[in-house]
């Protein structure tokens, strides 16, 4: 049975925790709005980019000499998994659900006898994967101290990925991130990055006409495809940033509520015990007086 003093201390500490979680929730809510705006603003660009690529890809279909980034290396042996997560924890299941999706993917590929390489973007993904999959991790990148994701950061990551591809380090690259649906719903997603994913995007109807390409088709693709990789990574980073804040907000909301419930329970216990002690003291005084 804890003493009255223990209970008082306990209540004080839970109250302090509640204050912190409440503050974190409010901070996440404020950051969420900015992150959400950025994520939504980036969507048209990457959607249009995907549409243009699909148009070009359908025009190039069946032609020899399609660039490797579009057609692939012709092999499927080595897979690179790019796992993008947050830099910080305390955001519910956000990081672990992305890591889990990547893990399932990696396990499946290993069972199929493929070589798996993992690149983590964000500290938490690295923490979650390094114990079991440490031997697969070839590169890590983190953005600690970066306040707002900018295109330059995405280009950074894309540069590393493209360099590895040029050196023939992998055949297929898949990007893992969390798509922002709403504050309470974030969906871990796998997106094939290389070769570019063009299925499922409907090319525009040209009415039988053919694109005039200026300057050269190969030159434009050589510029477009690496850019597409950067754009998709940029979008993933922004979606992730919004999802992280959303997940943190709801996690901190329920933490605050839990702390409130706990304080109520502890207060009832404290009051009961205090009353019991007073009664006990009274009985002692009365029985002492009667004995005289």
């Amino acid at each position: 049975m804890p003493s009255l003093k223990d209970l008082r201390n306990r209540i004080a500490s839970v109250k302090a925790t509640r204050k912190i979680t409440k503050a974190m929730q409010m901070v996440a809510a404020a950051k969420l709005r900015r992150a959400q705006e950025a994520a939504v603003a980036a969507r048209p660009y990457s959607d249009r980019m995907a549409a243009v690529l699909a148009n070009l890809a359908s025009a190039m279909q069946g032609q020899a000499g399609a660039p490797m980034l579009l057609a692939g290396t012709g092999r499927q042996d080595t897979h690179l998994l790019i796992v993008a997560t947050a830099e910080r924890g305390l955001c519910g299941g956000f990081n672990s659900s992305i890591a889990k999706l990547a893990r399932e993917h990696a396990d499946r590929l290993v069972r199929e006898g493929k070589t798996v390489k993992i690149m983590t973007v964000g500290k938490k993904g690295n923490d979650a994967l390094k114990r079991l999959y440490g031997q697969y991790i070839v590169d890590t990148k983190d953005f600690r101290g970066v306040r707002q994701m900018s295109f330059a950061q995405a280009q950074d990551v894309a540069g590393i990925v493209l360099k590895m591809y040029e050196m023939g380090a992998f055949d297929v690259a898949t990007l893992f991130f969390s798509e922002f649906k709403s504050v309470i719903s974030q969906k871990p997603t796998a997106l094939r990055l290389i070769p570019a994913q063009v299925e499922g995007v409907k090319p525009a109807d040209l009415g039988g006409a053919v694109y005039e390409v200026e300057p050269e088709e190969t030159e434009i693709l050589a510029d477009l495809l690496p850019r597409n990789v950067a754009v998709q990574i940029f979008r993933a980073l922004l979606e992730n940033a919004a999802s992280e804040q959303g997940a943190r907000m709801s996690a901190m909301d329920s933490a605050t509520r839990n702390a409130g419930d706990m304080i109520n329970r502890l207060s009832i216990k404290y009051n009961r015990q205090r009353q019991a002690q007073i009664t006990k003291e009274l009985i002692e005084i009365i029985s002492g007086a009667e004995a005289l």
Binding site: A41, Y45, A209, Y211, P215
Partner: protein, 131 residues
């Protein structure tokens, strides 16, 4: 008269979307003006000014850097790596861009990338002179 559907998007935001009369874009092979019912084209862009003309009122001028334009029967889409309305563009911003471009030239490792970087630099300098 038929109108042209024009969209200008950069990774950070969508800058323009609407029906217009014609748009002049700075292609790498020269400027070109896109009007309604233009043949499908894919063109790379050099740094420069996109001019949007609507039936009445002043033209909208937007600075773009890097990217490409796509014309299809649905309209014209410009995907720019950086895009800024000219009103927001000042000498300092251009100077900054030129500084970046100069660094690119200095950092370039292959002849090919050096050629590209110095081309960009030249375009920017022309632009600075034009302002």
């Amino acid at each position: 008269m038929a109108s042209l559907h024009f969209e200008l998007v950069s990774p950070a935001r969508a800058l323009y979307s609407g029906e217009v009369e014609s748009v002049t874009i700075p292609g790498t092979e020269g400027d070109m003006t896109v009007m309604p019912a233009h043949a499908p084209v894919l063109a790379m862009l050099k740094p420069g000014i996109v001019t949007v003309r609507k039936g009445s009122g002043a033209d909208t001028r937007i600075f773009v850097r890097g990217g490409f334009a796509e014309v299809n029967p649905q309209g014209l889409t410009v995907l720019a790596e950086t895009a800024l309305p000219v009103e927001e563009l000042d000498a300092a911003a251009i100077a900054q861009q030129i500084k970046n471009a100069e660094e690119d030239v200095a950092d370039a490792k292959t002849d090919e990338s050096r050629r590209k970087a110095s081309e960009t630099l030249e375009h920017l300098k022309t632009l600075q002179a034009a302002l």
